[in-house]
């Protein structure tokens, strides 16, 4: 299907998310939409998918202008969207999720949904057990399920919003292969991303958005520097890893076993020294998240011992760890890290509780200072949920005490654009000079290779590889992540 967007405008109050975007997507091609966070990519795609309504402009499908107001109407016209977070029913099985929206009648037992599902999955090379419960699947598998469900609805245009965030490199390869196949069958694929490598690997043509407008278009072959210029205006400086001499031992895990997550953690033996930056690699749910929660006292080990600066921490709770200088920043910012409904100043007030009264003026002053220092776009009275993702992350970083002993970060740059991610790392590296150890998980191997001194690869609840960055390369890590050593 050929899609033409003409002069699309979308205003959210005074904010112009899209200010006159025009682009054409030919059928049978993979079209990339590139841009920073807040460039208007997601807004544009939500309009195309019928999720939100445009303020002005026309959408034409195969040459005729169309108006539709809901995702259901859009999917009847053949447009389906894969959202950044999976929109499925976690407690239902794979097959039940697949059938949602396909069945119109109360009793529809005669249609062989299972065969349809298995055929579609086989065609695309996806290996999904139809009876598995969706909440036990990885993000990547849930994505595959969503694609199959949309195909089952008979869509001709597939929109993917940041599909490679949070999935493994193997799943990424499977996804790309499937998308190429779908394109060769004549379907139009729209890939939204802020990752250049994804776009360059997959797309036939690309439209770059910047500040709600089209800042450039390009067809294969792509030139990285030109694309970067279109995205940012000016080229960002690549960060480098800071060299530090590892000092005294900070954290020791002695044969620790714990349950939780998908894989749990089995017989984990590690030592972390002062000033080290260690990247935790691995498939989603291979034990990295559990490790970080063990090291912060949120989860207790079943066996083995945890030592923090020589004192045994078994049986101590999160607050004791926090008191000993451990700071943990979870990845889900609004769900775990911040308190929606409270404003920025109130978050600062919660940081240092003393006496009986809340010292509001002091918290306000502190908030103001941090907003300036961390360049957060907001005011002390702004509720945290009104901040953008990047600003929420800056706010979380501003809560880190001045000299933490151990910083535990779960995917610290998830969902951030390149500029914000760079800023985050610049800030974090300052801590290492002050003898802080940083442990961070990431699904982005490039990030680990660039920022960490050491890398641990988790596979099925075990650390299968523990090596210095200088002694390894991306291929070795990739195979370790897949369990091949």
């Amino acid at each position: 299907m050929r899609i033409e967007l003409r002069n699309i405008h979308k205003y959210y109050g005074p904010v112009k998310a899209n200010a006159g975007i025009s682009l054409t997507i030919r059928s049978g091609t993979i079209h990339g939409i590139l841009g920073e966070n807040g460039a208007g990519k997601s807004t544009l795609m939500k309009i195309l998918a019928g999720f939100s309504r445009k303020t002005r402009g026309t959408v034409s499908l195969n040459g005729s202008p169309m108006t539709y107001k809901t995702p259901a109407q859009a999917s009847r016209l053949g447009i389906g969207m894969l959202y950044q977070e999976p929109l499925d029913f976690p407690v239902l099985s794979v097959l039940e999720n697949f059938m949602v929206g396909l069945t119109g009648n109360i009793s529809d037992r005669n249609t062989p949904h299972r065969q349809i599902f298995e055929q579609l999955a086989k065609d695309l090379g996806f290996n999904l057990p139809p009876n598995a419960i969706v909440k036990n699947l990885t993000i990547g598998e849930r994505q595959q399920l969503e694609i199959l469900r949309l195909l089952g609805l008979g869509i001709e245009v597939l929109i993917l919003d940041e599909p490679t965030t949070g999935i493994s490199s193997m799943q990424r390869e499977a996804l790309f292969k499937a998308l190429e196949q779908l394109a060769s069958e004549g379907k139009s694929i729209v890939l939204v991303s802020h990752k250049l490598e994804d776009i360059e690997a997959l797309c036939d043509s690309v439209t770059v958005l910047r500040l709600g407008r089209v800042s450039g278009e390009m067809s294969k072959p792509f030139d990285t520097n030109t694309l970067l210029e279109m995205i940012f205006g000016i080229l960002p400086v690549q960060p480098t890893c800071v060299e530090t001499q590892p000092g005294k031992t900070v954290l020791v895990m002695d044969c620790v076993t714990a349950t939780g997550g998908r894989a749990g953690l089995k017989k984990c033996d590690v030592t972390v020294r002062q000033g080290e930056i260690i990247g935790l690699a691995g498939l989603e749910g291979s034990g990295q998240g559990l490790f970080l929660r063990l090291a912060s006292g949120l989860v207790q080990p079943k066996q083995g011992a945890v030592f923090l600066q020589k004192s045994k921490m078994n049986g101590k709770d999160y607050h004791a760890f926090k008191h000993a200088g451990v700071t943990f920043l979870p990845t889900a910012r609004l769900e775990e890290g911040l308190i929606p409904g409270l404003n920025i100043a109130e978050h600062f007030a919660l940081q240092n509780r003393k006496g009986f009264y809340v010292n509001s003026p002091e918290a306000f002053k502190q908030a103001k200072k941090s907003i300036e220092k961390f360049r957060i776009k907001g005011q002390p009275v702004f509720p945290v949920e009104s901040l953008s993702g990047g600003n929420q992350q800056r706010l979380l970083l501003s809560f880190i005490p001045d000299d933490p002993v151990l910083l535990l970060l779960e995917k610290p740059t998830r969902g951030l654009d390149m500029e914000s991610a760079l800023w985050v790392w610049e800030h974090l590296q300052k801590f290492c000079a002050g003898k802080t150890s940083i442990l961070f998980s990431s699904s982005d191997l490039e990030e680990i290779l660039m920022m960490a001194h050491r890398v641990w690869v988790f596979f099925n609840g075990k650390i299968v590889k523990d090596t210095m960055i200088s002694d390894t390369d991306i291929h070795e890590l990739k195979s370790a992540i897949a369990g091949i050593i």
């Binding site: 999160y318 775990e336 890290g337 911040l338 308190i339 409904g341 409270l342 919660l350 509780r353």
Partner: protein
């Protein structure tokens, strides 16, 4: 100013909806609606003694509502407030019974307040404990404890504390007048209760606005997990909030015994606990609005007592109006939220 305007617009809208609904009900019941409204008004605010009567209802409603503000702030549904009020009444009755023979009744009268608050607090603490340590939802725990409290009060009235001779639904024997709360004789209103209720509102407003307790309750209510990561202990705050709610409810129960009935009766709580849940919801969890709503509800309750005599309409009409008010408020709230969401999408 704008929020005030928006709020008053919402209030007027709610009032109109409820007015239409109630009028319809009255027409169906075959009663003249405007006469009914007139009687409710006259029956509640028509004379000083009527107003004083309204205030005696307003006091327990306001006390319970103040306590509930703590639990709602942390996101707990303290439906057990009814049982907490009953236990407050039982505890203070137990203490006052010791005072019957004593030479210093005033001491026992004073202590009965503490006993009442303790009784309600302990009962709420049970529910809180079941919630934080046992994982029992506070609504089920509270509801269960309400039944237990009801059972205990009946057992006491018909068992150990029964009147000499014959046990009856009319309650235990009346206390000697030395154990009654002082009241203004012309209008039969106890100033102590009034002062306590006003103080409860003040203390609650001040606690929620300026202290750590208030901010902690709010933070945990909004996001328990993140608040924990910030170093707060949700379990402790939950118990604290429950203790406050139970304490205020128990105090209300004590006032019912010492100030109004001067004995323990089976219906000592008069459903004021449940009613105060509606009061707090209707006031949109605002500490300054809640006393006003409580006053309005008290007017409805007292005013509708007239209806069976004057118009042969059952006095439960006040319940219909109160229920309709809450439903209308919730409906208007839902409608506004939906409109806002639509606006955001377009």
């Amino acid at each position: 100013m704008q929020t005030f305007l928006r709020y008053s617009r919402k209030m007027i809208l709610t009032a109109v909806v409820v007015f239409c609904f109630t009028t319809l009900i009255l027409l169906i019941a075959g009663a003249p609606p405007f006469a009914a409204y007139y009687h409710i008004f006259k029956g509640s605010l028509g004379s000083w003694s009527k107003i004083a009567h309204v205030i005696t209802v307003w006091i327990p409603l306001t006390l319970c509502a103040s306590g509930l503000l703590y639990t709602f702030r942390i996101g707990l549904w303290n439906i057990g407030v009814e049982g907490q009020m009953i236990m407050g009444a039982i505890f203070s009755t137990a203490l006052l019974r010791f005072g019957i023979e004593s030479h210093q009744p005033a001491v026992f009268l004073g202590l009965s307040f503490f006993a009442g608050a303790m009784g309600g607090g302990i009962w709420a603490f049970f529910a809180g404990f079941l919630k934080t340590k046992g994982g029992v939802h506070e609504i089920f725990a509270g509801l269960g404890l309400n039944f237990v409290a009801q059972g205990i009060i009946l057992y006491l009235i018909f068992g150990p504390w029964k009147r000499p001779g014959v046990a009856s639904m009319s309650g235990t024997e009346v206390f000697p007048q030395t154990l009654w709360l002082p009241f203004l004789s012309t209008i039969r209103l106890s100033p102590v209760g009034l002062v306590l209720a006003l103080a409860a509102v003040m203390v609650t407003a001040w606690m929620l606005r300026y202290t750590w307790v208030g901010l902690g309750l709010k933070a945990i209510g909004k996001n328990q997990y993140a608040a924990f990561l910030f170093g707060l202990k949700p379990g402790r705050y939950m118990l604290l909030a429950m203790a406050f709610a139970g304490g205020f409810a128990g105090l209300a129960g004590c006032l019912q015994v010492a100030g109004i009935y001067h004995r323990l009766i089976p219906a000592i709580s008069s459903n004021y606990g449940y009613l105060s849940l509606l009061v707090v919801m209707l006031s949109n969890y605002n500490v300054w609005v809640a006393p006003g709503v409580a006053f309005f509800f008290a007017c409805l309750n007292i005013g509708s007592i007239q209806l069976p005599m004057m118009l042969r309409v059952d006095s439960s009409l006040s319940g219909v109006i109160q229920g309709a008010l809450v439903l209308a408020t919730l409906a208007i709230y839902a409608w506004q939220t939906r409109n806002k969401q639509k606006e955001r999408q377009n």
